[in-house]
Subunit: 294 residues, 2 copies
Amino acid sequence: MNMEIHTVTVVGAGTLGSRVALQCALSGYRAKVYDLDASILETSKATMQKLLRQLRKQGSLLPAQEEGLSDRLLFTDKLGEAVEDADLINESVTENLETKLQVWKQIDNLAPEKTIFTTNTSFLLPSKIAAAIDRPQRFCALHFHDVFFARLLDIMAHSKTDLALIPILEKFGRSLNQVPVVIQKEYPGYLFNTMLMSFIHAAGKLLTRGVGSIEDIDRSWMVNFHMAIGPFGILDQIGLDTAWHVTRNNPDKYTQAFADLLADYIKEGKLGEKVGAGFYSYPNPRYRDPNFLK
Amino acid sequence: MNMEIHTVTVVGAGTLGSRVALQCALSGYRAKVYDLDASILETSKATMQKLLRQLRKQGSLLPAQEEGLSDRLLFTDKLGEAVEDADLINESVTENLETKLQVWKQIDNLAPEKTIFTTNTSFLLPSKIAAAIDRPQRFCALHFHDVFFARLLDIMAHSKTDLALIPILEKFGRSLNQVPVVIQKEYPGYLFNTMLMSFIHAAGKLLTRGVGSIEDIDRSWMVNFHMAIGPFGILDQIGLDTAWHVTRNNPDKYTQAFADLLADYIKEGKLGEKVGAGFYSYPNPRYRDPNFLK
């Protein structure tokens, strides 16, 4: 397949979609950001400005990346306009199959033949979405983590994906400074999220069974792995509401006990770092105190 | 309890016992190293010399720590001599309950009243050992990881442990530059090992189900967590034989499939880094190649 990617359309301008679109524009692509809600597009612009300030502060932006940046970033609440000339679409709408199916049926009607369709789903299987569109062979999962710090990129085909897409997506991922990994078969959670959820479930079980405190569980992980964060700090970053959605349907009784604990925190409004409180209080959670590991 | 620790006896001079004894001597304690096999004591001395060279090379030894070091380290194959004046005993014999019970019954007969008894078991419960001795209240788990890089120290009492021992063990642990964590109830694997085994089981399942390759599973973990090693590299460090012992009795069918895979490697002599081959080849495994994360 001789396929050059110039224009990338991100569908869904939430946190992750905004990060993907910004990194595309910083990497020289024309990036179109679509959301049906114009106010989310405004939030997305602000999110990108904040990210740019952080990246500049860290010294991780080259002047060439910022040159003409605003010309390469387009925002629209019209789906037809968003996809009409897209070489690649990466969809980051709400993690709900019905919502994704509705969006993909529309995209399927509006996008040109050349477009590569990719979804950024965390736990849904691409085959479930591909089954609802007329060109399943153009469809593949392309799953980013947080783009700038966690640079893993999961590439996961379904049984009808045209495998010629895989090397194109790998090359595209590397051009975005990501580390692509090709998953060998459809699996909910890919590789990293599967391992992440597994050790987070173990941490939740240790807490609900009263084996260790939140701080001691995090401390154990951080000391031995020389990591700046442990499982409960990670949960605060993921969001306790998101974690609850992932755990609540797991039949394991310990996972259920942990989902109930998460529900208690959520009732109190403690959704994690994004609202200033979760398992820890922000902006200065105890696990970031230099004395935490003593 | 007014208890000063001066003399520490390490029972079992394998890899971990040698590391614990060396760190005790480097921290100013008189450290007695016992093993019933005199050849293991010779290996232990060589292990300590190698460790000292590494620590000097890293610049992590103060001259004061090395001063009089050899006078503070005593080696003996006579258990009576080893424990007769011990303030604290840390036992690191083979991870097998029968073996540990035999050793502890002897220690119980030979050690003075003042001695604090601790076991370095990874997965056995201290109550199982304490039940076989005459002074269960003096007995507690005190579990080191690798002492120098992974500095977590698990302190886990059983129901009859005199709780006055806990702050003594915490203080002792800090004096050895460890980070003590007090486990709230008996649990096999403490906090860290429970989480470690959980994500390693997940990695094993991803491999045996054909979802990802060894390298892609490790790569995923390393990229997102900015870690120098992933689950299969960690298994090579733990030893595939040790991992097999921990996984083979788990009834979960995917864990069984992974135990079978480990058994295949073990049959080929691939026990991990200690023998130069496991999931990777040593001394230059691919995951340490700077291009591995590209």
